[in-house]
C-alpha cells in the first residue's frame, strides 16, 4: 500500500492501530486534523471521541477514561499544552497512561498560529509543578509519526505516565509518499493488570522504588483509589516525610533512558562517519534538513557525523556521550531560541568541544545550506 499522507493522518492511524479507544481534544491549528481524524475513526472501532469545552476538559476526560482502563490520547499545540499543565501534573502523580500529541507552532501565546516552530521542547519537560519526569519522543518523518505513535502508547502503558509525541506544523501538515510495506509496526504492549482474583488491591504499591504499580480499572473487580495528593500505596494522603521522600523518588526513578531503551529501540539515530570531528545534532523536522546538509558536506569530502535524537525526554545521555567521542565541534540547528542545546551543553566538556547553535525562529524550515555553511566554517584550516 502506497499513500500520499501527512503526519497528522499517520498519527491517527498509529493511534487506532495501537488500540486507542478514547480521544478528547479541542480545535487548535495545526493539531485540529488529529481531532477530526479521531472523531471519524474511533466510532468505527467502538471507541469514544469528543470535542471538549476546552483543553482542560480534554485532558481531564482522558485521565478519567484512562483510569477506567482505556488507552487514551489527546492532541494540541503549544497554547493547549499551557492549559494541560496542571493535569499533566495529575497524570504524573496518579500514574496515568496518557498520550499527548504536541503539534508545535512558532512563538509564545498565539504566536504564528499556522507556522512551524520547535519552541515547546523545554516546556513539555517542565510543563507542570514539581518537576517530575515525563517521556517525550519525536518523529522526523510521516512514517515515524505512525510508528512512534504506537511506541508512545506502549511507553505510556508500560510506565503509567504521560508520553508526549512531539511533532510540528511542517511534519504534521506536509504530505509525503508512504510505502506501508516498509513501515515498522511495533508490537502492541498493554499496561500490567493486577490479576482479577487477587484479594486486595493497593493501587500504588511497588516493591522496588522504580517499579510501576499494577493497574486495576475503575469499574473492575477491585475497589480503586486515585488521588492528586501525595499518597501511600493505598492512595491515602501521606504526611510522613520519610514516606513522602520514597514516593517522590519513585516518580523520579521509574522513568530512565535505560528502561525506555528496552521498549523503544529508536532513542537516537546515529549516522557515524569514522574520524569525523564535526557532529551535527538535530531532532524533529529540523533533522530532515540536517540530513541533506551532512550529505552535501560529505560530497565535498568533509567528515561529519549526525545524531538525530528521537527520545527527547529523558535525555538519552549515554547515547549522546557515545556520539561525541572524538568530536571537536557540535552544530545544533533548532527552530527555537536554543533549547535542547542546553542539554548538550550540560553533558559535554565545553572546554574541549565547541558548540555552534543555529537558532531560527522565522517560521521557515532551516535550509540545509545554512547548516552546511556552519560545517564548512568550522572545518576551515
Amino acid at each position: 500500500m502506497i499513500e500520499f499522507l501527512d503526519g497528522n493522518e499517520a498519527i491517527v492511524k498509529g493511534a487506532i492501530d495501537a488500540g486507542c479507544k478514547f480521544f478528547a481534544g479541542y480545535p487548535i491549528t495545526p493539531a485540529t486534523p488529529i481531532l477530526l481524524g479521531m472523531m471519524q475513526e474511533l466510532p468505527k472501532v467502538g471507541g469514544f471521541a469528543i470535542q471538549a469545552e476546552d483543553e482542560i476538559a480534554s485532558i481531564g476526560f482522558c485521565i478519567g477514561a484512562s483510569m477506567a482502563g482505556k488507552k487514551v490520547m489527546t492532541a494540541t499545540s503549544g497554547p493547549g499544552i499551557s492549559l494541560y499543565s496542571e493535569n499533566i501534573g495529575l497524570a504524573i502523580m496518579g500514574e496515568t497512561p496518557l498520550v499527548i500529541v504536541d503539534v508545535q507552532r512558532q512563538g509564545p501565546a498565539t504566536g504564528s498560529a499556522t507556522k512551524d516552530g520547535q519552541g515547546d521542547i523545554q516546556f513539555i519537560r517542565w510543563s507542570t509543578s514539581g518537576g517530575y519526569p515525563i517521556i517525550a519522543i519525536s518523529p522526523t518523518t510521516v512514517e515515524e509519526c505512525y510508528t512512534f505513535t504506537i511506541y508512545a502508547f506502549n511507553l505510556a502503558e508500560i510506565f503509567r505516565t504521560p508520553v508526549f509525541l512531539v511533532s510540528s506544523k511542517e511534519l504534521s501538515m506536509t504530505r509525503q509518499r508512504i510505502d506501508w510495506s516498509k513501515v515498522e509496526k511495533p508490537e502492541i504492549i498493554d499496561r500490567k493488570y493486577l490479576p482479577e482474583n487477587a484479594s486486595e488491591y493497593k493501587p500504588y504499591y511497588f516493591e522496588n522504588i522504580d517499579d510501576v504499580p499494577l493497574f486495576s480499572p475503575f469499574g473492575g473487580k477491585h475497589i480503586v483509589r486515585y488521588t492528586t495528593s501525595t499518597h501511600d500505596e493505598y492512595g491515602n494522603l501521606l504526611t510522613m516525610p520519610e514516606k513522602i521522600q520514597i514516593m517522590m523518588e519513585h516518580l523520579d526513578k521509574k522513568i530512565s533512558e535505560e528502561k525506555i531503551k528496552k521498549y523503544f529501540p529508536h532513542i537516537v539515530r546515529f549516522d557515524k562517519q569514522d574520524d569525523a570531528e564535526t557532529l551535527v545534532i538535530s531532532y524533529g523536522i529540523t533533522a530532515r534538513g540536517a540530513i541533506e546538509a551532512v550529505e552535501l558536506a560529505r560530497s565535498q569530502g568533509l567528515k561529519v557525523s549526525h545524531l538525530i535524537i528521537n527520545l527527547l525526554w529523558p535525555v538519552p545521555e549515554s547515547e549522546i556521550k557515545k556520539a561525541i567521542e572524538g568530536i571537536k565541534t557540535i552544530i545544533f540547528p533548532e527552530m527555537n531560541n536554543g533549547q535542547y542545546v542546553l542539554e548538550i551543553e550540560r553533558i559535554v566538556d565545553k572546554s574541549k568541544v565547541k558548540i555552534v547553535r543555529i537558532n531560527q525562529m522565522d517560521t521557515r524550515l532551516i535550509n540545509p545550506r545554512k547548516i552546511l555553511d556552519e560545517i564548512l566554517k568550522n572545518n576551515e584550516g
Partner: protein
C-alpha cells in the same frame, strides 16, 4: 457526633470535619441515598474536588477519584464515557463550582449521566474562608471583609439555562435530603443537588448565620428549593452510541499508488501553484502529487491559505524527487504556476528571486501584475479555458498544461490519479479539464 453509625457504605470512623460542619451531616445522607439505590461499590465512583469536601471519599468503601480543583466533573465525565456502567457522583464545594464553572455548564448542557452534589457553605473553608461564587451579597469573608459586593450564582438556574436534566436545592435542615440525592443519582442524565450548609469555622461566625437567616437568604434571592428543574431528554452517551457508534459503515476507498508509469525527472524539482480560495488548489495539488507517485516518484505537498478559507490566496508547494525527500522547503521554485491575483500577491517575493533556469506559467489576465523577474515566462489562457468547463477546474487544468510542457511524467498518470482518488462526477469534470490543459500546449503558447 462525627462517627457515623449503621452506615452501609461509610466506614465507622470519626470524620475529620470541624464541629458543626455541614459536611458531617450531608455524607450520612449520601450514604442513605446510595443504600436506597443498592449501588454496587465496585461500579460506583465518588469523584471529589479540592476543599474540605475532598477529604470525604476516603470514608466510603467505594471507588474514589480525588482530582484537581474544579476539574472533578471532567474526570467524572471521562470515567462515565469510558465505562457507562459506572455510577459517578461528584462531591464538590462552591469553590469548585466557581473555578470549574465551564465544566459544570457543559456537562449539564450535554446531559451526561453523572450526579454533582455541591457542598455549598458560601466560602472557601480549606484556605481560610475566602468568598466564592455563592457568597451572598454583603456576606463577610476573608476577601470580602467589608461585605461581598458580588451577587451569588444560582447553580440550579444554570442547569435550567442549558437544558440540563435535573437540578435540586436543599439545605442541611431538609429531612428528605437523602431521598433527593437518591432521585438525582437515579436520574438518567445530568443531575445536581445544591446543598446549603454551614462552615462553622468561617462563614457561620463571621456572618452569624443560622437556620432562619439561611431561609431568609433563599427567599431574598428567590432561590427555589426541592426539585427545581427536571426534564427528560436523551442522555449524552446514549446519543453518541445511537448516532456515531451505529452509523452505517461507509466503504472507504482504499487506494494504493503503485508505480505504473515512467518518469523523466532528472533532479529534485520544486513546484508552486499560486491560486485563490475556491480554485481547488489544495485538492488538485494532492491529485498531482499522487500522479507523480504513480510515476514512481517521491513527492511532498504543503499548503498555505488564510484562516478565512473562503477568501484570499491558496498556495500549494510540491516537491518531486527520485529519492526520499528530506528537506521540504522551497526557497526558489523551478516552476511557478500562477492562476489568481491573490496567489500572485502572496508569491511576489519569490517571483523576484527566481533565476533564469526557472519558469513561470501564468494566466494571460495576470501578466500585467507580474513584478520584475529573471525567470522564463509562459502565458496561457487558463481561466478562459477553465470557464468553458467549470471554473473550479482551473488548477487541475493548469497542472495538465505544466505536465504537457515539461513531460516530467505522462499525462495518463494524472488522469489515473483523478480516477483513483476523486468521486465520479468531479473526476469527469477534471478529466475534461486535463484534456483542455494539454490542448493549450498542443495549440502553441505565448512565450515572453
Amino acid at each position: 457526633m462525627a462517627i457515623v453509625k449503621n452506615a452501609v457504605y461509610m466506614k465507622e470512623v470519626e470524620l475529620p470535619f470541624c464541629p458543626g460542619c455541614g459536611h458531617s451531616q450531608i455524607l450520612p445522607q449520601l450514604d442513605k441515598a446510595m443504600a436506597k439505590l443498592n449501588l454496587d461499590p465496585r461500579k460506583t465512583v465518588l469523584v471529589t474536588d479540592i476543599g474540605c469536601v475532598g477529604l470525604s471519599d476516603q470514608y466510603f468503601n467505594v471507588n474514589a477519584f480525588h482530582g484537581l480543583h474544579g476539574r472533578s466533573i471532567t474526570y467524572a465525565c471521562g470515567l462515565k464515557m469510558a465505562n457507562p456502567e459506572l455510577t459517578v457522583i461528584v462531591l464538590m464545594g462552591d469553590g469548585g463550582l466557581g473555578i470549574g464553572g465551564t465544566h459544570f455548564i457543559n456537562a449539564a448542557r450535554r446531559n451526561i449521566d453523572i450526579t454533582v452534589i455541591i457542598f455549598n457553605n458560601f466560602n472557601f473553608g480549606m484556605t481560610g474562608g475566602e468568598h466564592s461564587v455563592t457568597t451572598p451579597f454583603g456576606g463577610k469573608t476573608a476577601t470580602t471583609y467589608l461585605g461581598n459586593i458580588e451577587y451569588p450564582l444560582d447553580a440550579c438556574s444554570l442547569v435550567q439555562a442549558v437544558n440540563g436534566g435535573f437540578a435540586a436545592r436543599t439545605t442541611i435542615f431538609d429531612r428528605n435530603l437523602a431521598d433527593i440525592i437518591a432521585e438525582a443519582i437515579a436520574f438518567k442524565g445530568f443531575s445536581v443537588v445544591d446543598v446549603w450548609e454551614y462552615c462553622t469555622a468561617y462563614y457561620v461566625p463571621r456572618n452569624e448565620l443560622n437556620k432562619d437567616k439561611m431561609m431568609k437568604l433563599l427567599e431574598t434571592y428567590g432561590f427555589k428549593t426541592g426539585i427545581v428543574h427536571k426534564v427528560e431528554r436523551k442522555e449524552f452517551i446514549e446519543s453518541y452510541r445511537e448516532v456515531y457508534l451505529n452509523q452505517p459503515s461507509k466503504q472507504t476507498k482504499q487506494v494504493s499508488l503503485e508505480t505504473e508509469f515512467e518518469n523523466n525527472l532528472t533532479q529534485k524539482t520544486g513546484i508552486i501553484i499560486a491560486g485563490a480560495a475556491g480554485q481547488k488548489v489544495k485538492s488538485s495539488a494532492t491529485v498531482f502529487g499522487s500522479s507523480a507517485i504513480l510515476s514512481g516518484l517521491y513527492a511532498t505537498q504543503k499548503d498555505d491559505y488564510p484562516i478565512t478559507i473562503m477568501t484570499g490566496h491558496s498556495v500549494s508547494e510540491i516537491i518531486l524527487d527520485k529519492k526520499e525527500i528530506n528537506y521540504t522547503g522551497i526557497e526558489s521554485p523551478d516552476y511557478l504556476i500562477i492562476i489568481a491575483p491573490e496567489g500572485l500577491a502572496k508569491v511576489k517575493r519569490i517571483i523576484q528571486n527566481m533565476n533564469e533556469t526557472s519558469t513561470i506559467m501564468i494566466d494571460d489576465n495576470l501578466v500585467s501584475l507580474l513584478p520584475e523577474t529573471r525567470a522564463k515566462i509562459e502565458i496561457f489562457p487558463f481561466r478562459k479555458t477553465a470557464n468553458t468547463i467549470d471554473r473550479f477546474s482551473i488548477t487541475i487544468l493548469s497542472l495538465a498544461t505544466f505536465l504537457a510542457r515539461t513531460n516530467l511524467f505522462p499525462i495518463e498518470a494524472l488522469k489515473k490519479a483523478v480516477m483513483l482518488t476523486q468521486k465520479k462526477a468531479i473526476a469527469e469534470v477534471n478529466l475534461k479539464a486535463i484534456d483542455a490543459g494539454v490542448r493549450l500546449v498542443e495549440e502553441g503558447t505565448y512565450v515572453k
